[in-house]
């Protein structure tokens, strides 16, 4: 029987997530001759990431490209990918996710009815603000920064001495414009697509968090696909994942140039000082992730 699949994600059509997801869908549709028909729904049309995850579990959405951090609600250990300064470089993260760490995490989601098809990229998050270049943690003192309402994220920025508070993304632009917040943190692609360059001056390349994008399918749907077609889906997920990672890398330099052209001022940060400042967060999260997972992670961090 033909399987028809709605794949939801929350980013705009211009983002590499959408470009690659559309390519993935087309390749699967073609190579399976329509036996697996995937339609991509961008911009949160099918719901927020958490709602898509629920939908994968009860069957209203069949596939999703979802930020790895959003799985913490159903599997707290997924938060390990987005721990502050978990990765010195993106290659470390790819090695870990394509290796043992990815397998361990995928197994956990498997138990929750979600099949991981591939690890794609969301990228490093950077801090923008309107007050001063942030070079060391002390520069964050007193800055009102908007973060996603995530425990670890809030604790991280409290630990760094900033004044973090949650706010919906839709209100963020005007909140920055009117000075309700001084700062925010997001990947460069989002800083650009949301026009934050109009209301923020400094971009500090803190790279404090690296996020994966998880290409997932509802397990009950996956089980309906024949083994031959499953192989095609996995292959396409992997090859488009590699292309998507390249798109992120290529976009990065271009985005810096574009944002500079819009008048933003970039600076590097003293990473060693930041890494030291977030050490207590790692200590506090130890029990959440457990010895075993932290050991796997450590193999790839060296």
């Amino acid at each position: 029987d033909d399987v028809s699949i709605r794949l939801g994600h929350v980013l705009p059509e211009s983002h590499s997530w959408h470009v690659a997801a559309t390519g993935f869908a087309e390749e699967v549709n073609n190579r399976t001759e329509g036996r697996v028909a995937i339609k991509v729904f961008p911009s949160g049309q099918l719901g927020s990431e958490k709602e898509v995850i629920e939908g994968l579990q009860f069957g209203s959405v069949q596939a999703g490209l979802i930020g790895s951090g959003s799985f913490q609600g159903i599997e707290p250990r997924m938060g390990i990918i987005e721990m502050p300064y978990a990765w010195g470089a993106r290659d470390q993260a790819f090695a870990a996710l394509d290796g043992d760490l990815g397998v361990a995490l995928a197994d956990m989601l498997d138990g929750k009815g979600i099949k991981v098809l591939g690890w794609w990229e969301n990228g490093f998050r950077n801090i923008t603000n309107n007050v001063r270049p942030v070079e060391k943690p002390e520069d964050l003192a007193g800055l009102k920064i908007r973060v996603t309402p995530d425990k670890v994220r809030l604790a991280t920025f409290e630990g760094l001495g900033a004044e973090p508070a949650p706010l919906s993304f839709g209100e963020l632009y005007s909140a920055l414009q009117q000075g309700l917040f001084d700062a925010q943190e997001n990947p460069l692609a989002i800083i650009y697509s949301a026009s934050f360059f109009e209301v923020q001056k400094y971009v500090s390349l803190s790279e404090h968090i690296w996020g994966a994008a998880t290409l997932t399918m509802s397990k009950s749907v996956w089980d309906k696909i024949s083994p031959e077609d499953q192989a095609i889906v996995t292959e396409a997920a992997t090859s488009w994942g590699l292309k998507q990672r390249d798109m992120v890398a290529a976009a990065n330099d271009k985005l810096i140039a574009q944002l500079e052209a819009e008048g933003m001022q970039f600076n590097e940060v003293d990473k060693a000082a930041f890494i030291e400042a977030v050490e207590p967060i790692w200590e506090s999260q130890k029990d959440v992730y457990g010895e075993e997972l932290l050991t796997i992670l450590d193999q790839y961090r060296k």
């Binding site: 729904f41 049309q45 939908g55 209203s60 706010l167 839709g170 909140a175 009117q178």
Partner: protein, 427 residues
């Protein structure tokens, strides 16, 4: 369009005609669709209903509702009306103009044009009748001014639009100020002109003493809207927080300064807020289910394809969307219309590069006009019910009022800067 989608719309329309609650019509037609089309498990209705209202921004709705009630019952609104009456009540068309100002200042805090028309009409219409204003005139002025409340900030209709299209509520509020004032002035001008031709005037006789007393008494009341809109504009707080501050301010003034609020009144207003919130947000919850089905069946894409094939011009697309709004606005509450159409219109706006904030203002004005367009016009019908006159008695006076609203609308289409640029400079 698939047969199942057509059935979705037919069931929805049938339920609306049957006078089932709009929320029930939206929800039940969606459930029906899910059963026959096998598009997703039925359980998705529960998820989308909660997702539709699980928003910090929407908290502004009950808070503004409560702030509005506290201002009316805590003596703030009556003092502002008294000030207006002392200023212009005696003049030609004075009471009509006071009524329009009252609608501008306190309208739309309830989120429903109909509710505003009833609340303000009950206060003003008897006095106007005593002074010889024709009831048909008063009702058409009230209907149009009551709808105007949905344009002027703080407006629950704009909050709902902002949430549905993910645009900033703060920007919408600021963008609505100049169009709202233009519309209000236009309506007042028409009221004055008709009153002059008919010789309608009078209210309380003018006295400096009375004006002084009214001005002194209303200073603190006048500060309330300034704190709310100014606080958002200056970035002191978000729209939701502004609503909370509005509640705190009205409560403080109502209890300690004007001494008009007792504990039992406060409790009653909290209970009224509960019911009004339930009524408004249940529509949002159900519309979220309905909207999810439209999205999952790619109706927005179909709409974009249909319109882009019909025209290359953004202006023509804009006019087409406005025509749809005008027609729907005659028989449905603005909030329900926005929730049904926002997901369909948003990609069209994106395609033609139309600013969603700009469109949001045009949309609310269209709905305000639609709500007063015979033969239906729900705000006009409510105004006539309060005035205890047949709908037809208002038609004679209606044309100039609607004319001036359409005129302002055209002005805004021709000069978008009135919405997009000027507010940023002035406020």
């Amino acid at each position: 369009m698939s047969l199942a989608l057509a059935l979705l719309l037919v069931v929805f329309v049938l339920l609306v005609l049957l006078d089932a609650p709009i929320a029930v019509a939206l929800g039940l037609s969606s459930m029906f669709y899910l059963l026959i089309a096998d598009a997703a498990p039925l359980i998705v209705v529960a998820q989308r209903a909660v997702a539709g209202i699980n928003s910090f921004t929407l908290l502004a709705i009950p808070l503004f509702l409560l702030a509005g009630l506290l201002m009316v019952h805590g003596g703030l609104a009556p003092r502002i009306i008294a000030l207006c009456s002392a200023l212009i009540g005696r003049r030609t068309g004075g009471l009509a103009m006071v009524m329009i100002i009252a609608c501008m200042m306190f309208g739309s805090l309830s989120g429903s044009g109909v509710a505003d028309v009833v609340a303000i009409g009950t206060m003003m219409l008897p006095a106007m009748k005593d002074q010889g204003y024709a009831p048909g005139f008063s009702a058409s002025a009230l209907g149009c001014a009551g709808s105007l409340g949905t344009v002027i900030p703080p407006s629950i209709v704009l909050i709902v639009y902002g949430t549905a299209t993910n645009s900033s509520i703060g920007q919408l509020f600021v963008a609505a100020i100049i169009p709202g004032i233009l519309l209000g002035l236009g309506l007042m001008l028409v009221a004055w002109w008709i009153s002059r031709r008919n010789g309608w005037q009078g209210g309380e006789p003018f006295s400096w003493g009375e004006l002084g007393r009214a001005a002194k008494g209303s200073i603190l009341a006048m500060l309330a809207p300034i704190i709310i809109v100014g606080g958002i504009r200056l970035g002191i707080f978000t729209p939701t927080e502004a609503a909370g501050i509005g509640v705190a301010y009205a409560l403080f003034i109502g209890i300690f300064v004007y001494r008009a609020l007792s504990l039992s009144t406060l409790m009653r207003l909290l209970r009224e807020t509960t019911e009004m919130t339930g009524v408004i947000l249940l529509v949002i919850a159900s519309a979220s289910v309905f909207g999810w089905i439209l999205a999952a069946e790619q109706v927005p894409q179909m709409a974009v394809n249909g319109i882009t094939q019909a025209t290359q011009s953004g202006t023509v697309a804009l006019l087409m969307m406005m025509a749809v709004l005008l027609i729907l606005g005659t028989f449905m509450e603005s909030i329900a219309i926005i929730l049904i159409l926002a997901p369909v219109f948003l990609p069209i706006l994106g395609h033609y590069g139309i600013d969603p904030v700009y469109f949001g203002i045009l949309l609310t004005i269209n709905l305000a006009i639609g709500a007063n367009t015979p033969p239906l016009g729900i705000d006009l019908m409510a105004a006539c019910r309060v005035g205890e006159i047949p709908l037809s008695a208002s038609f004679k006076y209606l044309i100039p009022f609607l004319g001036v609203m359409v005129g302002v609308l055209l002005l805004l289409v021709l000069f978008p800067a009135l919405i997009t640029e000027l507010p940023g400079i002035l406020f």
